[in-house]
C-alpha cells in the first residue's frame, strides 16, 4: 500500500513529447483509473510508474520515496498486462510461483500462497494447465493471480479487460472491484472505456495527448467537467454541444448558431455579454416540451423498453442525441421541440474549451 505522486513527469521519444508534464497525487488505497482516447499516453504513463519505461524528467514518488532510478523489479509493484503476458511454457502454478521464486521465498510458503490466491480467484482446478489451454477469462484470472500472489504495494492494470467479450468484461469488472475492497491496495487501472472508469474508480484521471485534463471523483467529473473534452468523454451517450453567442443585453439568453434562443442560468457561469460560448447538455437532461426552444428532426429511434434513444439533427444539420426514460412514440421525420433542464446546463468557452463554471 502506498501513495503515488507524479511531479511534472515527462516522457519524450527524441523530439516527440508523449507525456507533457503530469502532476498527480494518488492517495493510499485509492482505485485510480487513467482514461482517455487511444494514443493519449495513458499506458505510457502507467509504464513510467511501473519503471518499465524510464522517465525523461520530473519525479515519480511511491510511498514517499523518489523511484526515478529504481528498476521496475524493486519498486514493489505488480502489473497485469493487456495481453495477459502469461509465460506460455509454464503451468499456471509455475506462472504464479515465478515471482515468488525470484525473491527466494521458501517452497512451502510459495505453495501455500499460490493455493490461497488460486482459491480466492477460483482457479484451483487450472493450476496444472498451461496458458494455451485456458479461456480468455481464465487467463485473465491467472494474470491477476500472478500480481496478487506477490502482495505488492500497488497494482497496475493495463487495459486488462479489453480482450474479453462484453459479458465477461462486466463480470471481471465486478471481481476487480471486489478484489480492491478486499485487499485495500492502491490500484491504478488504465482503460479507454469510460464506463469501466465510472463504475470502478475512486478517482479518475482523464488524459488527452499526454496531458492531464482532469483528476477527480467520477461523479465530480460527470457533474462538473472542467472542459469540453472531459464533458464529451465522460458519460454515455456523449454530451451534446451547441455553439452560440451570449446576448449583449441579457446574460441569461443564448443565441444558438441554429438561430434559436435558449435560456441559460444567469449566475454560476462567468459568461460575458456577447461572448462565444458552447452549451453542453447531456442527452438525458432535456425534456420534450411544446414550447421548447430547440427543434429536432428525428432521424432514428432506439426503443429499449425501459428507455429510449432518439437521434436527430438540428436546423443547421448538427446532430443531437436525446435519452428519455420509458417509451416514446416518435416517428422518423417528426420535429420535436426540446427544452434543456436549466440546472443541468454546462457552458464552455468556445475558443479554449474551458468550463465557464464559477467556483
Amino acid at each position: 500500500m502506498a501513495r503515488i505522486e507524479l511531479r511534472n513527469a515527462r516522457k519524450s521519444y527524441g523530439t516527440v513529447d508523449v507525456i507533457k508534464g503530469i502532476d498527480l497525487d494518488i492517495q493510499q488505497g485509492d482505485f485510480c483509473v487513467f482514461v482517455g482516447p487511444s494514443g493519449c499516453g495513458k499506458s505510457t504513463l502507467l509504464r513510467m510508474i511501473s519503471g518499465l519505461e524510464p522517465i525523461t524528467s520530473g519525479d515519480i514518488v511511491i510511498g514517499g520515496e523518489v523511484v526515478n532510478d529504481i528498476p521496475a523489479a524493486d519498486r514493489g509493484l505488480a502489473m497485469v498486462f493487456q495481453s495477459y503476458a502469461l509465460y506460455p511454457h509454464m503451468t499456471v502454478r509455475q506462472n504464479l510461483s515465478f515471482g515468488l521464486e525470484n525473491i527466494n521465498t521458501p517452497k512451502s510458503e510459495i505453495a501455500a500462497k499460490v493455493d490461497d490466491v488460486a482459491k480466492m480467484l477460483q482457479i484451483e482446478q487450472l493450476l496444472d494447465r498451461r496458458p494455451k489451454d485456458l479461456s480468455g477469462g481464465q487467463r485473465q484470472r491467472v494474470a491477476i493471480g500472478r500480481a496478487v500472489v506477490r502482495e505488492p504495494r500497488v497494482f497496475l492494470f493495463d487495459e486488462p479487460l479489453s480482450n474479453l467479450d462484453a459479458e465477461l468484461r462486466v463480470d471481471m469488472r465486478g471481481e476487480i472491484t471486489q478484489l480492491h475492497s478486499r485487499l485495500q491496495n492502491t490500484m491504478i487501472y488504465v482503460t479507454h472505456d469510460q464506463v469501466e472508469a465510472m463504475t470502478m474508480a475512486d478517482k479518475i484521471a482523464v488524459l488527452r495527448a499526454g496531458e492531464l485534463e482532469q483528476f477527480g471523483r467520477p461523479l465530480d467529473l460527470y457533474n462538473r467537467p472542467c472542459n469540453i473534452f472531459v464533458a464529451g468523454f465522460i458519460g454515455s451517450p456523449k454530451m451534446n454541444f451547441l455553439k452560440g453567442r451570449v446576448s449583449q443585453d441579457d446574460p441569461a439568453r443564448l443565441a444558438l448558431e441554429t438561430g434559436e434562443t435558449v435560456q441559460i442560468p444567469p449566475t454560476g457561469f462567468g459568461q460575458k455579454p456577447g461572448a462565444e460560448v458552447t452549451l453542453g447538455i447531456r442527452p438525458n437532461h432535456m425534456t420534450i416540451a411544446p414550447d421548447g426552444p430547440i427543434h429536432l428532426t428525428v432521424k432514428s429511434v432506439e426503443q429499449l423498453g425501459g428507455e429510449a434513444y432518439i437521434y436527430g439533427v438540428l436546423q443547421d444539420g448538427q446532430s443531437l442525441t436525446l435519452h428519455m426514460p420509458g417509451q416514446i412514440g416518435a416517428n422518423i421525420g417528426e420535429v420535436l421541440t426540446l427544452a434543456p433542464q436549466s440546472q443541468e446546463i454546462h457552458l464552455f468557452d468556445t475558443a479554449n474549451g474551458l468550463s465557464l463554471r464559477e467556483g
Partner: protein, 350 residues
C-alpha cells in the same frame, strides 16, 4: 501402425488407382531410390571383402567363396564346382591357378593333382558379411580416438555456439541500444565473406593463440556464427515484449529472463540450430584438416581422408568407417527432426 499403413497406401481413386496415384507413387519410389540407393549400396559394400569390391560387374550383396580343408594342405583351398569334362559336377579345391589353367584336387583323393581349364571351374559362394572390415577399424586404427575427437568437437562446439548465439540474438532482438542495427548488419555482413578468404588470417590467429593442433583450435573459431545469430534473432523477435516486462515486474534478473523465459520459448529455433550445428561440425573437413596435423587429434573426417592414399585406397576400411560416421548424425536427425518443421516454419529461415 494401422495409421502408418493407411497413410502409406492412401490413394486418390476409390477402389482402383487414379492416374495421379501412379504418378505420385512412381515419383515417390524414384525419390526413395535416389535418396536411399547410395546409402544402401554403401552399407552393403562396407561388408564386402577387397576381392569382392574389385569385382566387375559389381554385385549387390556381399559374397564369400567357400573353402575346403583338405588333408596335406596347410591352408584351406578355394572351393569350385567343375562344369565340364569327366569331373563335371564334382567339388574340387584349387591349389594353383596361372595363365588360364588351374590345378585342383578332389577332396577324396588329395594326393592327385588335376590340371583343368580355369573357365570350366565355377566358384562355390555364399552370402557373407565381412565384419572384419569393422573389427579391424578398432584393431588396426584408433577408431575410438577419432570418434571421441569428433564427438568432443561436435558437442562442445554446438553447446558453445548455442549459448553465444542465443545470447547475441537476445541482445539484438530485445534490447534497444545505440548501434543495434549496425551490429546486426555487421553480423549478417560476415555471411558474405567466404570462409576461404579468412582461412589464412584465421589460421594465423589460432596459431598465435597456441591452439594449433588442439581441438579447441577447431571449436572456438566457429563458436559464433552469423547464421545462428540471425536465425535465433528472427525467432526471438516474435516473443512478445510484454512477457519480458511481466518477468521484470516479477523481479526476474535479465539473466534469469534469458534462461527461464527466452531460452524455453526459443526451443524450436534452438533445436533447428542445434541440428545444423551438429551437422556442420560433424561433417567439417577443411578447417580441422588445416588445424589438426597430428594423427591422435584427427577427427573421423580426417581419418577417412587418410585412408585415401596417393597410390592406393583402403576401400573396406574407408567404407566401414563412413558407415560408422553416418550413424550418429542419422540418430540426431531421427530424434530432433520433429522440431525442424516447426522451427523452420516459425523462424522463416531457409
Amino acid at each position: 501402425m494401422a495409421k502408418v499403413i493407411s497413410f502409406l497406401t492412401a490413394t486418390r481413386g476409390k477402389g482402383r488407382l487414379h492416374w495421379t496415384d501412379w504418378v505420385s507413387y512412381g515419383y515417390l519410389c524414384l525419390g526413395i531410390f535416389l535418396m536411399f540407393g547410395p546409402v544402401v549400396w554403401l552399407v552393403l559394400s562396407s561388408f564386402k571383402t577387397p576381392n569382392e569390391l574389385d569385382r566387375f560387374p559389381p554385385r549387390f550383396l556381399p559374397y564369400a567363396q567357400e573353402t575346403l580343408e583338405i588333408e596335406g594342405y596347410d591352408s584351406p583351398l578355394l572351393a569350385f564346382v567343375v562344369t565340364e569334362g569327366e569331373l563335371a559336377g564334382q567339388t574340387v579345391g584349387q591349389t594353383r591357378r596361372a595363365a588360364g589353367r588351374a590345378e585342383v584336387v578332389v577332396p577324396a583323393n588329395p594326393s592327385e593333382r588335376i590340371r583343368l581349364q580355369a573357365d570350366t571351374l565355377d566358384p562355390i559362394e555364399h552370402i557373407a558379411f565381412a565384419t572384419e572390415n569393422y573389427t579391424q577399424l578398432f584393431e588396426r586404427f584408433n577408431f575410438l580416438r577419432f570418434f571421441w575427437n569428433s564427438t568432443f568437437i561436435t558437442v562442445t562446439a554446438t553447446i558453445l555456439m548455442l549459448l553465444f548465439n542465443s545470447m547475441a540474438a537476445f541482445a539484438l532482438s530485445k534490447y534497444e541500444f545505440r548501434g543495434r542495427t549496425t551490429v546486426l548488419l555487421m553480423v549478417i555482413g560476415t555471411l558474405m565473406v567466404p570462409q576461404t578468404v579468412v582461412l589464412v588470417p584465421l589460421f594465423l590467429i589460432v596459431t598465435e593463440l597456441g591452439m594449433f593442433n588442439s581441438l579447441w583450435g577447431v571449436i572456438i573459431p566457429g563458436a559464433a556464427t552469423p547464421t545462428g545469430v540471425f536465425l535465433l534473432r528472427q525467432y526471438m523477435i516474435t516473443i512478445p515484449d510484454e512477457i519480458l516486462d511481466a518477468a521484470r515486474m516479477d523481479k526476474a534478473s535479465e539473466w534469469k529472463i534469458f534462461w527461464r523465459i527466452i531460452l524455453p520459448l526459443s526451443a524450436p529455433a534452438i533445436a533447428v540450430l542445434a541440428i545444423l550445428a551438429i551437422m556442420w561440425r560433424w561433417n567439417d573437413f577443411l578447417w580441422p584438416l588445416i588445424v589438426l596435423t597430428r594423427t591422435e587429434n584427427f577427427t573421423l573426417q580426417l581419418a577417412l581422408n587418410s585412408f585415401q592414399g596417393e597410390l592406393q585406397t583402403d576401400w573396406p576400411s574407408l567404407l566401414a568407417m563412413t558407415v560408422l560416421t553416418l550413424l550418429p548424425i542419422a540418430a540426431v536427425f531421427a530424434f530432433l527432426q520433429k522440431y525442424i518443421a516447426t522451427g523452420i516454419a516459425s523462424t522463416g529461415g531457409k
